[in-house]
Each structure stands twice: as structure tokens, then as C-alpha cells.
């Protein structure tokens, strides 16, 4: 009885999708054995001979020579019924299998084919299922860069019943105590409840649960974790919980003030206020502060600002005299790197920084913060402008991060926005100088030998006299002033 099987074009390697039938090696009516070569196909890589998986009588050749068909297309039918199905006749097998896959020749070792393609089934050659042949197994498979579809989006279980598993095994590990000569033997506790959980749902009353970064934040802000209401997973305290508790001087959310008989109002010192106070004290009573002033005609700077505002490159970017001051500062530091340094009391070294992290003091809803622009010295004017914008916007929203405030090397404090001329600013701890930028006013000035109305401002520089002497400080300040007075000076440096 006939049992007709179809042989479909296989993927002989590397994710083939189609192949051309080059030449048939059998014709209808031929009796073929398993592994007898029935067709030669051409793939993208090479010519490949296909062995028959069936033994029997060839029925139809379903594809013409020269045609290209997709992988999976039936290409030949074989009637396997009658002659023992897929059996392999014994006498044929020994010589056939014994022959080298490349075909035996009389004498010499057959050299591998000269072309690059390795025979199917040999090491490095294509193997069924789109794999590559190896000595010891199916061989590696090609993978695709696609995820398997999941049931719910984001349904990642978080160490689910590992707890119950631990619990189950813990109960099996219980016994009465051993007499040990070491002190304080602990009983193998039958109460597995506290043991088993990988998920912490029952915090000891004495100890709050919080991620390490949240613990640090709490410590930095002076918040007692144990007193904070926890809203996080597994009863842990979150960052927001801490921030909410730390809220000392937030704009409309004023700290709880106890009013006593209307003559005094007591505000608890917490959060940003506490940190600011600490910083000020640390700085003021460690570094000997000296402050110097200079009054500058910044008319040309203001003209530059106007031009920048209409410059297409600066479209959408806020530009002001602070930008020019920032640039002037960076340029002056290049000429006087000793100002961009810090006094290391512990190691008795002056540490000159080879980068400029320019801090801008900002008044925010949470209080005074001094975020800095990292590597301001590597920035173009445009980049500096953008960084300033960004910094200001972030600060205004109260979203300045601790990392933003760390690592500053010099600071500008802008009192001019308040209409104030100048002051004696306190150096930011870790730095050695701070520039105070006053209001820009129309003032009578001597210009080209005559009285004129010019834009005038004051700059003040406080510096740490341990490492910056008057000469250095003065030269530095003078350079900054020079750029503001005539921005073209920058071209000379």
C-alpha cells in the first residue's frame, strides 16, 4: 500500500528563508534509500546537497530546476509504503556510512573543499534546525532579539513564595538544642514566621526599614527614621516620606510654628535650614575671609547680551549678564588657577582642581541651594547658557539633587536680582573663592574723558587667605572685571 510522504525544503543553516533548486539527482520512479542525495540546492552561502529522510520510490518532483522556493515548501514526494518503511538495507549501510562524508577517494586524504562553505553535518557546517554543526551535540542556534509575549504587561513577580519555601524547610530543620560549650546557645526557634520571609513585612518595632540611600538622606537631613510614617513597600520608609518629614522652610508649607503669646514664633531648625547653617559656620570659622570690590562699566556686556538674545543659535535660551560673568570667571580661572583650589587641612596640601564646577547660589522654595555646573570650563557659551537655564529651572522647582550640589570649585552669588549692589559673601565649604554680582544700574561714569550714562555694577570677591593672597585675588578679580568691561578681551587670552 502506498504511503506517500512529502519532503519540505529545510532550513539548512543560518535562518535561511529560500533556496534555488539547482539540479535533481533522482527522477520519478527511482528507488531511493535514506540519506541518498536527492537534490542540489543553492543557498545564499553555498551549494548544498540534501539527503533524503525517506526510503522508497520517488513520486513527483514538485519544483523545477532553476526555481526558487521558500523554506517549508514541499519539493518532492516519496512513496515509503510497502518496502519496510524507513528501513535501511544492511549491505548498503556499511560502505555508505564508512565513506567519508566528502566521498572516499582511492589514496590520499581528501582535502577540505577549497571554497569557504563547510559541508552540512561537518563541524562548522550547517545542521538541521538552523544550527551549526559541532562535534558534541546539536550545535548553536541563531537567536532573535525578541521577547516572548507575557500575560500581563510588567507582571514580574517579586520573590513570591520563596518565603513559604524557606518556611517549609525551616520547620524541617528544627530540633531540640544541643549542649554546646560556647556561651549563649540559641535555640533553633520553632517560630518560623520571622525566619522564613525573604520579603520583610514585619519590621521590629525598634527598627525602621529603609533603602540605604533613604537612610543616608534621612541622616543628612536630620530626620529620625523611626518617627517617620512609612508609605513604601513592605513597610519601608521612602525618600518622599523623608522629604515630607524634613520639610523645614518650604514656601507655602511652613513648618509647624508654635505661637506663644504672640510675642515670639518658634520655628524648628530642620532640613535645608539646618544644613545651610552648618555650612556657613563651617566655612566662616575655618577659612580666613577677605573681600575685595571692583566697580565695572558693563555697558559692552549688556550690548553683547542684547545681540545674543537676537542670535538664532541662542533662540529659546535665556541670556543675561550672569552668563557673561560666568564665562568671564571661567576664563579668569584659566589665568589664575590658584583660585580654583581648596585647602586640605588634614593632608596639609593645596588641591588645585583641573576642572571648574561653577556653583550658582540660588534661592529656592526650600531655601538656599548652591548647585554647580560641572566642567563649566569645557563649555561653549551656548552650552553654558543652557546649563544655567537648566540649573535655575530645577532649583526653582525645588528639585535640585544632592549630586548637583556636590563637588563645586567656585561660586557666584547674584545679589543684583534683589537690587542690591554688593556684600561680603561667605565661601561655599570646599571652595576658596566666591564672587558676588550686584545689580546693573545706569550710573554716571567717565567714558572717553567725558561724563556719560553707562551700565555699571559692582563685583565682590571673597577669598580664603590661607591659599589666596591679595595679589592673586586682586589680579583674578581684575581679570573678571576686564572681560565684563570689554568682552573682546576674551579674544586676547
Amino acid at each position: 500500500m502506498a504511503d506517500v510522504k512529502q519532503f519540505k525544503l529545510p532550513d539548512v543553516g543560518e535562518g535561511l528563508t529560500e533556496a534555488e533548486i539547482v539540479s535533481w539527482k533522482v527522477k520519478p520512479g527511482d528507488t531511493i534509500k535514506i540519506n541518498e542525495i536527492i537534490v542540489e540546492i543553492e543557498t545564499a552561502k553555498s551549494l548544498v546537497e540534501l539527503p533524503s529522510p525517506f526510503a522508497g520510490v520517488v513520486g513527483d518532483l514538485l519544483v523545477d530546476e532553476g526555481s526558487t522556493v521558500d523554506v517549508g515548501t514541499p519539493i518532492i514526494t516519496v512513496d515509503v509504503g510497502g518496502a519496510g518503511g524507513a528501513a535501511v538495507p544492511v549491505e548498503e549501510v556499511a560502505p555508505q556510512v564508512a565513506e567519508a562524508p566528502g566521498g572516499g577517494s582511492e589514496s590520499d586524504v581528501a582535502t577540505p573543499k577549497d571554497d569557504e562553505a563547510v559541508e552540512p553535518g561537518l563541524i562548522g557546517g550547517p545542521a538541521p534546525g538552523g544550527r551549526t554543526s559541532v562535534l558534541v551535540g546539536y550545535g548553536p542556534r541563531m537567536t532573535s532579539a525578541k521577547r516572548r509575549p507575557r500575560k500581563d504587561a510588567g507582571a514580574t513577580p517579586r520573590t513570591p513564595s520563596a518565603a513559604t519555601a524557606q518556611q517549609a524547610v525551616q520547620t524541617s530543620m528544627m530540633t531540640t538544642p544541643t549542649p554546646v560549650t560556647e556561651p549563649d546557645v540559641h535555640e533553633a526557634e520553632p517560630a518560623a514566621s520571622a525566619h522564613g520571609r525573604t520579603v520583610e513585612s514585619q519590621p521590629d518595632t525598634a527598627r525602621a526599614l529603609a533603602k540605604p540611600p533613604v537612610r543616608k538622606l534621612a541622616r543628612d537631613l536630620g530626620v529620625d527614621l523611626a518617627a517617620v510614617t512609612a508609605s513604601g513597600p513592605d513597610g519601608s520608609v521612602t525618600r518622599d516620606d523623608v522629604m515630607a518629614a524634613a520639610d523645614g522652610s518650604l514656601g507655602s508649607r511652613a513648618p509647624v510654628a508654635r505661637e506663644t503669646e504672640e510675642r515670639e514664633t518658634r520655628i524648628p531648625v530642620k532640613g535645608v535650614r539646618k544644613m545651610t547653617a552648618q555650612a556657613m559656620v563651617a566655612s566662616a570659622f575655618t577659612a580666613p575671609h577677605v573681600t575685595e570690590w571692583v566697580t565695572v562699566d558693563v555697558t559692552r556686556t549688556m550690548e553683547l547680551v542684547e545681540r545674543l538674545r537676537t542670535n538664532r543659535e541662542f533662540a529659546g535660551v535665556k541670556v543675561g549678564p550672569l552668563l557673561v560673568l560666568a564665562k568671564a570667571l571661567v576664563l579668569a580661572l584659566r589665568r589664575h588657577p590658584g583660585v580654583n583650589a581648596t585647602w586640605d587641612e588634614a593632608t596639609q596640601e593645596i588641591v588645585v582642581k583641573n576642572y571648574v564646577n561653577l556653583g550658582i547660589a540660588a534661592a529656592t522654595p526650600r531655601g538656599l541651594v548652591v548647585p554647580n555646573i560641572k566642567d563649566a570650563d569645557t563649555m561653549t557659551l551656548l552650552e553654558l547658557a543652557e546649563a544655567l537655564n537648566q540649573l535655575t529651572a530645577t532649583a526653582r522647582e525645588g528639585r535640585t539633587q544632592p549630586a548637583d550640589m556636590a563637588g563645586g570649585t567656585i561660586t557666584i552669588t547674584n545679589v543684583g536680582v534683589f537690587g542690591v549692589d554688593s556684600g561680603t559673601p561667605i565661601i561655599n565649604p570646599g571652595e576658596s573663592a566666591i564672587v558676588c554680582f550686584g545689580a546693573v544700574r545706569d550710573m554716571p561714569w567717565v567714558h572717553d574723558g567725558e561724563i556719560a550714562v553707562r551700565k555699571v555694577t559692582q563685583l565682590a570677591l571673597s577669598f580664603d587667605h590661607r591659599l589666596i593672597d591679595g595679589a592673586l585675588g586682586s589680579q583674578f578679580l581684575a581679570d573678571v572685571a576686564r572681560v565684563l568691561e570689554d568682552p573682546a578681551t576674551a579674544l586676547l587670552w
Partner: protein, 327 residues
């Protein structure tokens, strides 16, 4: 109550096991006539005969390989590898065969083999006699790995190891072979603490110090010194390296918030790394400080004149404790 040394504890445990089950064999180099280079098998060949206490040729792979064959035939061999540094020739038989044969046979064969290994340094020895190689075996699925730290555990744990149907690597801290303790001989090993459980040796509140094998005594001494400084350490003897008794460690860390793991083995990729990872993962919200690890340096074990600089000691443990407390 009888006072015994750790070596004697193993000896008595072996004897008890051999009395209880005629299939238990002891085999290794010099274990028979000599009674072992640490005298751990002293007297056993005299009482149980050469058929059961076997002096093997000088071939470690052969010891383990033939033990596997004996186990297949229904015996329960207890192999001795004379020193930690000499287990390497047997490494293939241990990890490719001993560890895997049960799974390979889908549970149809059992290899109840115990491999006893004197481990660790602190004995002023020449090369290869002071290794700590427990990580290689704890990392191999199919093996159980335990480390006793004191005479009483030695006595009970060796019997428990012999009684289990899984292959067990049984580490004995050679520098502690002569430590003494009092044994209650009326207790059976079924009544003792389970083989794969850790034990809190000293309760504390400030920092948990977890150690095993030779470092347990050092940890206890460190805790005593710390107490004088007003630091209250909790000391845990880990005892079983695979499987690890994680719940005991977790309960302690949730209480103290700080963990220091101590072992003689080099720090990189040692047991401390696994414990640290698991505790970080499961006790994240309880941690006040990162898990600290104190161990040997990542160098080959040094000449004996340098070993006290190499090995963790009380001061190094307390230094780690201080660093943990500084967070």
C-alpha cells in the same frame, strides 16, 4: 560528660557510625595502620579490620573514583583527603561524577560518600597544606558542603554526614584539631542540631559576625574584645555552606542591621560574596551598612612566616566591624 578534642570528636563519630552500619568504610592515605596524619582515624583499623579501614595507594582521584564504585555497590565510604591542597587531583571525580551521578541517573543511584578534608591555615605549614577551597565545591550543584568548628559539632556532624544519602564534603579546621570541649555521649546525632543549620553562638545587637570552620573561634574572641569597647556583637557559626541556612542569618541581620562575614579563603568569589548578595537582596531595607567581608588576600597562600599577616585575625575582624559601624 567527656572532654574531647576536635580530632577525637571526628574519631569517635566515625567509630559510632561504623558500629551502627557495617557498610560504612573509611579509606584514604595513611588512615589505617598510622591512624591518619592527624590521628583522626586512630585505632579504627585495629577494631574494624583492613577490609573496612583501607590504606589506599597515593592517588587521590583513585580514592574518590573507587569510593564511587563502592557506593554504587551499596557501601558508604568515608574518604579522607590528607590535606586540602591535595584534593585537586580528585576534583574531576568530585565535580563531574560524585556531584552529578544521581541527577544523571534520574535518582536511580545514590552516592552516600563523605569526603573529609582538613582545611585551612594557621599551622605554620609549607605550601599546599593550608588551602581553603570550599567555594569550588559549594558552587557545584549536587554536593553538600559543611564545616565543623568545634569538637561537639565534629562528633555529631560527621555522623550526620555519613547518614545522609547525598555526597558531603566535610571540612575539619586543622588548626582547631586540638581544641577541647565537653561531650554528652548520651545524645544521638538525630537529637543534635540539624546538619545544615547555622547556630547563633553569641547574641548581640550591634553587628552580626558570621564565620565558619577555623574562623569561628577567632570571631568569638573578637566579640569578647569588642564587648570591652561597648560593642555588642552577635556571632553566628554558619556550619553548612551548601545548603546555606539563610533564615538564621536573615533574622540576625534584621535585628542588627549590619553583617560581617569572615573566612580564611580569599575574599574574591568566596562564601562571603554569596552571603552578601543574598542578604543584600533579602534584607535590603534592614541594612545600615553594606555587608563587609573579611578573608584572605587574593594571592596564593604565603610562606608560613607571613601567614598571620595573610589570615584574618581578631583585629581585622574588629576593623571591619568598626567600618560597618561608621556608616
Amino acid at each position: 560528660m567527656t572532654q574531647i578534642t576536635l580530632a577525637r570528636g571526628v574519631n569517635m563519630g566515625l567509630r559510632k557510625a561504623m558500629e551502627a552500619d557495617p557498610k560504612v568504610l573509611v579509606m584514604g592515605e595513611d588512615v589505617g595502620k598510622l591512624g591518619g596524619v592527624f590521628r583522626v582515624t586512630d585505632g579504627l583499623q585495629k577494631d574494624f579490620g583492613e577490609d573496612r579501614v583501607i590504606d589506599t595507594p597515593l592517588a587521590e582521584s583513585g580514592i574518590i573514583g573507587t569510593a564511587i564504585g563502592l557506593a554504587l555497590r551499596g557501601y558508604r565510604p568515608v574518604c579522607e583527603i590528607q590535606f586540602d591542597g591535595f584534593v585537586y587531583p580528585a576534583f574531576d571525580q568530585i565535580v563531574s561524577q560524585l556531584a552529578k551521578m544521581r541527577a544523571r541517573a534520574l535518582g536511580k543511584v545514590s552516592l552516600p560518600v563523605v569526603v573529609r578534608i582538613p582545611v585551612g591555615g594557621g599551622i605554620g605549614a609549607v605550601e599546599h597544606h593550608s588551602e581553603s577551597n570550599e567555594a569550588y565545591f559549594a558552587h557545584t550543584a549536587g554536593l553538600k558542603v559543611v564545616a565543623c568548628s568545634n569538637p561537639i559539632d565534629a562528633y555529631f556532624m560527621v555522623q550526620q554526614a555519613i547518614a545522609t544519602d547525598d555526597p558531603v564534603i566535610f571540612y575539619e579546621p586543622k588548626r582547631r584539631y586540638w581544641e577541647k570541649a565537653d561531650l554528652d555521649e548520651t545524645m544521638t546525632f538525630e537529637q543534635a542540631a540539624p546538619l545544615h543549620s547555622a547556630r547563633v553562638l553569641r547574641e548581640g545587637t550591634d553587628v552580626t559576625v558570621a564565620a565558619y570552620g577555623p574562623m569561628v573561634k577567632t570571631a568569638i574572641e573578637a566579640a569578647a574584645a569588642a564587648a570591652e569597647e561597648g560593642k555588642n556583637l552577635e556571632v553566628i557559626d554558619v556550619r553548612s555552606l551548601s545548603p546555606l541556612d539563610l533564615p538564621t542569618l536573615q533574622e540576625s541581620v534584621r535585628k542588627t542591621g549590619r553583617l560581617v562575614v569572615v573566612h580564611e579563603a580569599p575574599v574574591f568569589l568566596g562564601m562571603g560574596a554569596e552571603i552578601a548578595a543574598r542578604i543584600s537582596e533579602t534584607c535590603f531595607f534592614s541594612l545600615e551598612a553594606p555587608v563587609m567581608r573579611v578573608g584572605g588576600f587574593d594571592t596564593p597562600y604565603p610562606p608560613s612566616r607571613l601567614e598571620e599577616d595573610f589570615l584574618p585575625d581578631l583585629d581585622r575582624i574588629l576593623d571591619a566591624v568598626d567600618r560597618s559601624l561608621a556608616y
